[in-house]
C-alpha cells in the first residue's frame, strides 16, 4: 500500500478510477469540480473505460445516472450544494427505482446568500430522499467510504444509491497523507457488477417508472423503509471485510474515549479531528469527555448510537447545518435515539461552521466547559445556540 499526499477530491477521483464505473454523468460545481475534472483526465488518458456524459445541469446529471443505472451497470457522479439541491427531485427517483448510484458529495453551504464554502446543509436537506448516507472525517475515509459504497449499494438485499459525504475544502482541497489500496485489490473488492433486470436486456423488455396510485404506493414506500432496515448489517459486513483488506476498521460511527466519559460531543465530518484533540486536553485536566462521530447517517443506527451515549450525563450535538425554527438535524436524530432508549443525558445543540466558518479548538473547549457545568447540575441556558457568531 502506497502512502500518498493528496487532496480529498484527488483521493476520491482515484477511487473512481480504480472502480472504473461503466457510466459517469456530471456537471461541475465548486468544491466538487476538481473531482470530476480529475476523473475526466482518466477518461481522456484511457485509464478508465467509463462512458462520460457531460450534461448541462445537475438535474440532467442525476437523470442520466438514473437512465444509465436502469440500463444496467455501475454508475457514478459527484456534486455539491446547489447541484445537489437541483438534483433533489431526481434523488427520490433514483432511490424509488432502487438504483445503486454512487455519488460523492463535497458538502457545501446553500444559497442565499451565495457561499461556496463547506457546511452540511446540502446533504442534510437531502437526508429524506431514500439515499444511504456515509460521512467521512478525512480524505482517507472519503476514499475508503467511496470504495465500500459500491459494495453496499450494489448488495443484492439493498440496491440503493449512496452519498459519500466529505467536507467541502477542509477535506476536498486540503492535502493529507493517506494510503491507497492497489488497483487490483480495489477491483477484486468491488467485484463484477451484478445486473438486476437491466433495461437494456432486449430479450425481456421491461417498463421502468410506472404510475402507482392509492392502491400500492403506500406499500411501495413501506418496502423502501424495510430495505433501509437491511443496510446496517450490510454496512457492518462490508466494513469488516474492507478492514481485513486495508487494515482500517470503521464502524457505524466512530467512538472516541466514550466508554468512561461523563460528557460527550456528537459531531460529523472533519470537525471530529479538532474535537478529539481538545477532548485529550480536557482529559488531562481530569474532565471525562468523549466523542461520537456518526459515519452511517442514513439509515441512522438509533439503537447503537443510544447505547454508546446513554450513560453520559450531558451531550452536545454539533450541527453544521440548521433547521430554522427547529433544532439542528443531527441533534434531532440523537434526541430521538436517546429518548427511545430511555436515555438520561441532558442535551444541548450547537450550530457551528456555517458557510465555511472555521471551527476552532476554542469552540470545542467552550462546549466541553458548558457540558461539564451541566453535568455538575448547572442549568441549560439555551438548548440550541450558535458557536462563533461574530458580535
Amino acid at each position: 500500500m502506497a502512502k500518498v499526499a493528496v487532496t480529498g477530491n484527488s483521493a476520491v477521483a482515484n477511487a473512481l478510477r480504480q472502480v472504473n464505473p461503466d457510466v459517469c454523468a456530471a456537471y461541475p460545481i465548486t468544491p466538487a469540480t476538481d473531482l470530476m475534472q480529475q476523473f475526466s483526465s482518466y477518461v481522456s488518458d484511457g485509464k478508465v473505460d467509463t462512458e462520460l456524459v457531460l450534461v448541462e445541469s445537475e438535474h440532467s446529471a442525476m437523470s442520466a445516472c438514473i437512465g444509465a443505472a436502469a440500463g444496467g451497470g455501475r454508475v457514478s457522479t459527484a456534486t455539491s450544494s446547489q447541484g445537489l439541491a437541483l438534483m433533489w427531485e431526481m434523488l427520490h427517483i433514483a432511490s424509488g427505482m432502487s438504483l445503486p448510484i454512487i455519488m460523492p458529495v463535497v458538502n457545501r453551504a446553500l444559497s442565499a446568500p451565495l457561499n461556496i464554502h463547506g457546511d452540511h446543509s446540502d446533504a442534510m436537506y437531502s437526508r429524506d430522499t431514500g439515499w444511504i448516507q456515509l460521512w467521512s472525517e478525512n480524505a482517507q475515509e472519503a476514499y475508503d467510504n467511496t470504495i465500500m459504497a459500491y459494495r453496499i449499494a450494489e448488495h443484492k438485499d439493498i440496491r440503493l444509491p449512496i452519498m459519500v459525504n466529505m467536507d467541502g475544502f477542509i477535506i476536498s482541497h486540503s492535502i493529507e497523507t493517506m494510503e491507497y489500496l492497489e488497483d487490483d485489490k480495489v477491483k477484486n473488492f468491488v467485484g463484477k457488477f451484478e445486473r438486476v433486470n437491466p433495461l437494456l436486456d432486449l430479450e425481456n423488455p421491461k417498463s421502468f417508472g410506472p404510475l402507482i396510485l392509492t392502491d400500492y404506493y403506500h406499500e411501495y414506500k413501506r418496502l423502501q423503509h424495510e430495505i433501509m432496515g437491511r443496510v446496517k448489517g450490510v454496512v457492518n459486513s462490508v466494513t469488516d471485510e474492507y478492514a481485513k483488506l486495508s487494515g482500517r476498521q470503521y464502524g457505524l460511527f466512530d467512538s472516541y474515549r466514550l466508554e468512561d466519559a461523563e460528557v460527550g460531543i456528537v459531531v460529523l465530518g472533519s470537525a471530529a479531528g479538532t474535537t478529539k484533540d481538545v477532548i485529550d486536553e480536557y482529559r488531562d485536566k481530569g474532565i471525562k469527555a468523549g466523542l461520537l462521530r456518526p459515519r452511517l447517517f442514513r439509515p441512522f443506527p438509533f439503537g447503537e448510537v443510544a447505547d454508546a451515549l446513554k450513560h453520559l450525563k450531558a451531550v452536545a450535538v454539533l450541527d453544521r447545518a440548521d433547521s430554522f425554527g427547529s433544532y439542528g438535524p443531527v441533534f434531532m436524530e440523537i434526541s430521538s435515539a436517546l429518548y427511545q432508549a430511555g436515555g438520561q443525558p441532558k442535551m444541548i445543540n450547537k450550530i457551528y461552521g456555517l458557510g465555511g466558518r472555521d471551527y476552532m479548538p476554542s469552540q470545542a473547549a467552550e462546549v466541553i466547559e458548558e457540558l461539564n457545568d451541566i453535568a455538575q447540575g448547572g442549568a441549560i441556558k439555551l438548548v440550541k445556540d450558535y458557536l462563533g457568531v461574530r458580535g
Binding site: D22, V55, G67, G71, G72, P205
Partner: protein, 317 residues
Amino acid sequence: MKIKTESTPLKLKELAKKENPFESGHRMCSGCGAPIVVKMVLMASEYPVVASNATGCLEVSSCISEYTAWKIPWIHTAFENAAATLSGVEAMYKAWKKQGLIDEKVKFVAFGGDGGTYDIGFQSLSGAMERGHDMVYVCYDNGAYMNTGIQRSSATPRGANTTTSPAGSVVPGKQQGRKDLTRIMAAHNIPYVAQASPSNWRDLMTKARKAIAIDGPAFLNVLSPCNRGWRSQTNDAIALCKLAVETCYWPLYEIENGELTVNTTPKEKKPLDEFLKPQGRFRHLFAPENESVLKQLQEDVDREWNRLIKESSGESK
C-alpha cells in the same frame, strides 16, 4: 419477449402484418393523437428501440402498475428529463457494446408532449442534442399542458382558450404566438429535424425511419390533436391534422444536414379559419371584436409558410 424488428416497406398492407410495439388497451382518451404518433414512429423503425417518456398523458396512461402498453424497453423518470434520462441509457448501451455485452444495433427514442419538450424539458432536450447522443426525440405537440387540464404552453397557438389563458371579457385567450421549436432544434445543427403530422402517415413514418436510422441526434415535431383541449370531436383527430397541413398551420418539412425541404405543398392553401373553426378553443375568436386576432394568426401562418417555401431547396411534392 422481444418483438420482431424488421424493415417493412412503408405500405399499409405490409405494416398491417407487423407487430405494434405499443399495445392496445392503454388508457389514452379516445381520439387522442399521441398513441397514433407513437405507433407510427415505432413501427417505422428498422432497429430495436429503447424508449423514454416524459411525465405526461402518454406516460400516465400507458404504464400503470402492473400493466404496460410498451412491448419494448421503456423508461419514465420525471417530467423535464426524457432526453437526459435517455442520454444515460444510451451511454450505458455504449458501455455494454464496449464490453461485448450486446452486439445488436439498438436505437433510442424519447417521447414527450409539448410541455415536457418546449418548456420544462427544453434544457434537457437541448443538452442531449448538443452532446450528439444517438437518439430521436419525438415531441407529440398538442399545444397545451393537457395532462394537468389544458393549461397554456409555449406551443399553444395565439388566441387559444386554455384554462390558464381563458378567453375572458378583456383578454381573448393566449396573448403570444407559438415558440418555433422545430427551427430552434434545427439551430442545434443536428443531422436531422423534421415536422410531421399523422394525417400524412407515410411522410411521418418515412421521417421517423430516417431519423432513427441516422447515427446521431434527431428531432421530430409531430402534431397531435387532443379533443379535450382543442374542444373538438373524438373522431376528427386525423381530419384536423389534414386541415392543419392544408392551411399550412402545420407545414411538413425537414432539415437534413442543414438543407431544408418542404415535403408537402397543398394544391390549394386553405384559409386558416377552416382549421380553427371546428375547435372550441378558438370559438371566441370568431366574435367580431376578436377579428384582429384571427388576422394576426393568418399572418403568422403566411409569413412562416412563405419563409419555408423560399428556403426550401428540395423538390416539394
